[in-house]
């Protein structure tokens, strides 16, 4: 039985704001006083007593991370993620609590730490490697591999200040990727680089973990967290908020942050303000988590201080790979005659045929003259579609790729040589073992429901 990689007990980190002086004593204060006083007086007159405010970036965090675990750390900005990583990677010390680390730690809090603009790619590989804790012999041994991974052979002897930002990042990550610590700590480094390279990096980190090493990974990219980690730690206000299964916590997190996205805007020229945009389900509950086949209601609350004739509203639902579907008054022609005073407009997208992924809703409002924008095209809400595709009759081996496939699924039907027909649709599941029940309650549904379960066609 191995020891845990990290044992963290009651960890706390306090920063003092508005009063930079840390507690010290004796000689230090004497020297400070003697040197500072005349300068301070000269600048500011007699020294005033500075207000000092304590701020706990982390408080009472206790955690145990086992060897070989890949743990994602999430939380909004200022939740203490980076502070935690800084303490674990020994850049700063905790104010209270203790940590027992078992294994050699390498941390990657930034891509290209210590890169020097004036040095060539080759020189920077050595420098960066050494800073990250590789020995000279180790770097020489891995040099070719690093260069190959980065894919910038031709520019090896060019100063990195002449590099494009993409090349820079690739070289930097290539060095970091060839570290061989027992524990790897990574902060939001994948936010840079193009999609292909990001995939390459994620792959590298995944394979790293397969060799039984421990990875701690901070990211705002929930997809990356979900695919890479088994366990997620959610920090909130410097405290441990939730800790557990990655898929569940990411989902919770996504919901809570989507709820936080409260859109509002105002256009003074037209005297129109959009108070809020709320997503609701078909039971009119505020919601940001839908199942495939649910109704999606977009409710726009406005307040028109001046009368607006025939405003044209368009909504679009976007997934990671782009636009999925829209509702557009410019096409359908159903713009309201006029808006005046406070009111609401809702648009219901019926049984959304979307795969479990994350989506955003964008909105644009134009004046009747079409060319004038009242509200610019922008994100107004976010939601996620969640659900087990098996319940919709999906049983392919590649179901795990659903988060990356084309999100919109129009109902379709296979007709196979043996006479089998199989209908697929992302409408609400009443399937397999529940078929009978569903049939009793809602016989119509069985026709539209997905049923790849090989219903023999009667004909």
């Amino acid at each position: 039985m191995h020891n845990p990689a990290f044992t963290i007990e009651n960890l706390g980190k306090r920063y003092t704001i508005g009063h930079q002086r840390a507690n010290g004593d004796g000689m230090r204060h004497a020297i400070e006083g003697a040197i500072r006083a005349p300068l301070t007086w000269f600048r500011n007159g007699w020294p005033k007593k500075l207000q000092h405010v304590d701020f706990w970036a982390l408080k009472d965090v206790s955690l145990q991370i086992q060897r070989g675990e890949i743990v994602g750390i999430i939380g909004s900005n200022g939740a203490g993620k980076s502070t935690l990583l800084k303490i674990l990677s020994r850049i700063t010390v905790p104010t209270e609590g203790r940590i027992l680390i078992d294994g050699r730690v390498s941390s990657l809090l930034e891509v290209g730490t210590g890169f020097h603009q004036e040095l060539t790619g080759r020189e920077n590989i050595f420098l960066n490697g050494a800073i990250l804790g590789m020995s000279r012999a180790e770097i020489i041994r891995k040099f070719d591999e690093i260069v190959e991974f980065s894919g910038i052979e031709e520019f090896l002897d060019t100063p990195v200040k002449r590099y494009s930002s993409g090349m820079y990042v690739r070289l930097a990550f290539a060095v970091a990727a060839h570290l061989e610590p027992e524990i790897l700590i990574v902060d939001e480094v994948l936010a840079v680089g193009d999609a292909a390279f990001q995939r390459k990096c994620l792959g590298k980190m995944g394979s790293f973990a397969q060799t039984g090493r421990t990875v701690l990974f901070v990211s705002h990219n929930m997809e990356a967290i979900r695919t890479l980690c088994q366990r997620v730690v959610w920090l909130k206000g410097g405290r441990l908020y939730k800790d557990g299964n990655a898929a569940e916590i990411v989902e919770d997190y996504f919901n809570s942050t989507s709820n936080d996205l409260s859109f509002s805007c105002a256009n003074a020229d037209y005297g129109l303000s959009i108070e809020k945009v709320v997503l609701r389900n078909d039971r009119s509950e505020k919601c940001c988590r839908f199942r495939p086949g649910d109704d999606l209601v977009v409710e726009i609350s406005y307040n028109a201080h001046k009368r607006i004739e025939r405003p044209i509203i368009a909504l679009g639902v976007f997934g990671a790979s782009g636009s999925c579907f829209t509702s557009n008054m410019l096409l359908d022609g159903h713009s309201p005659k006029s808006l005046e005073g406070a009111g609401q407009i809702t648009c219901t997208f019926k049984s959304i045929p979307l795969l479990p992924q994350n989506y955003v809703v964008k909105m644009i409002i134009r004046a009747a003259s079409v060319n004038d924008l009242i509200v610019n095209y922008q994100e107004v809400a976010g939601f996620s579609v969640v659900g087990d595709l098996a319940e919709y009759g999906y049983k392919g081996d590649f179901r795990t790729f659903a988060p990356h496939s084309t999100p919109v699924v129009v109902p379709y039907e296979w007709r196979l040589p043996d006479g089998t027909t199989a209908a697929v649709a992302l409408t609400r599941p009443h399937l397999s073992d529940r078929t009978d029940r569903a049939l009793m309650h809602d016989p119509e549904n069985i026709v539209t429901a997905a049923s790849i379960h090989g219903e023999r066609s009667l004909g």
């Binding site: 020891n3 706390g12 920063y15 930079q20 002086r21 840390a22 000689m27 230090r28 020297i31 400070e32 040197i35 500072r36 300068l39 800084k86 303490i87 990677s89 020994r90 850049i91 700063t92 010390v93 905790p94 104010t95 209270e96 609590g97 203790r98 940590i99 027992l100 680390i101 078992d102 294994g103 050699r104 941390s107 809090l109 930034e110 730490t113 210590g114 020097h116 004036e118 040095l119 020189e123 050595f126 420098l127 050494a130 800073i131 990250l132 804790g133 020995s135 000279r136 100063p159």
Partner: protein, 271 residues
């Protein structure tokens, strides 16, 4: 298996082992500073010769020709250069190492290694300049047909002393600079003054005997005198002065390391 315990309010015992583990970083950081220093310059490394040579010329004219300071029968440029060798090293090392932490703040906030590496390697960088100047001194001696006395064999000890002095002061300034950028203004000031209150352009023999010990409190006095004694056999060595210098260096170095270690943990938060 490497186990590490981090506990609030306790300095960890692994520090010196870590310093050993990161020993190659001394070399890499010094190498970087040297590589970078003369990039995109026209005359390149020659700069580390041009500066001391010009200073030597000026000091020879001011103190030797105009000030008519005693030279004890030795070529005045040689006398000046032997004084400048340790002084130049001390002053650049102090300046560079004083700035070293602030200059490398991106490293300090993003990656762990013993911070001592940064400051020490900047002294090493200055030491390379020292070696280049020393090579020039050899040429100068050949030019003047001057054979150094046997005491030259003691030189490494005094070089070490100069290194210790530079590092001691450098550690103090580097650590203080992290919190108080006032030192950015203080250091050039000290360097400027130091050139005149240390016996660089003249021999310390010109200082009245009763002030000699007081004068020696400046560790560079003992070090510069010793350099001249080693290289030129100039004047008999002033032993109390040397003793004071050794004590000075020891105190500076010990207290410098102590203060640096004491504040090191907060560097990333404060810088």
């Amino acid at each position: 298996m490497t186990q590490l315990l981090i506990e609030a309010g306790r300095t960890e015992g692994q520090y010196w082992r870590d310093l050993w583990r990161y020993r190659e970083l001394f070399y890499f950081l010094a190498w970087r500073d040297l590589l970078v220093r003369y990039k995109q310059t026209f005359v390149g490394v020659s700069w580390s010769l041009i500066r001391p040579i010009l200073t030597m010329v000026v000091l020879t004219i001011v103190f030797g020709k105009l000030g008519k300071m005693p030279s004890g029968g030795r070529p005045y440029p040689l006398l000046v250069f032997c004084g400048m060798l340790p002084w130049q090293f001390f002053s650049t090392a102090m300046t560079e190492s004083g700035n070293s932490l602030v200059m490398n703040s991106n490293l300090i906030t993003k990656v762990y290694f013993p911070r001592l590496v940064i400051t020490v390697s900047s002294v090493i960088t200055s030491f390379v300049d020292f070696l280049i100047s020393a090579a020039f001194l050899v040429l100068l001696m050949i030019w003047y047909h001057y054979t150094p006395p046997i005491t030259v064999l003691l030189l490494p000890f005094f070089v070490l002393l100069a290194f210790g002095a530079a590092l001691g002061v450098g550690l103090w300034i580097a650590a203080l600079m992290v919190q108080y950028r006032d030192f950015r203004f203080i250091v050039p000031f000290v360097v400027q003054f130091g050139l005149y209150i240390s016996p660089v352009g003249f021999q310390s023999g010109v200082v009245p005997e009763r002030f000699r010990l007081l004068y020696s409190l400046n560790p560079m006095v003992g070090i510069i005198d010793s350099f001249r004694w080693c290289l030129l056999g100039a004047q008999s060595i002033y032993w109390p002065g040397l003793a004071v210098a050794v004590i000075d260096v020891f105190v500076l170095l010990a207290s410098g390391i102590w203060y640096f270690r004491k504040t090191e943990q907060a560097f990333a938060d404060v810088i």
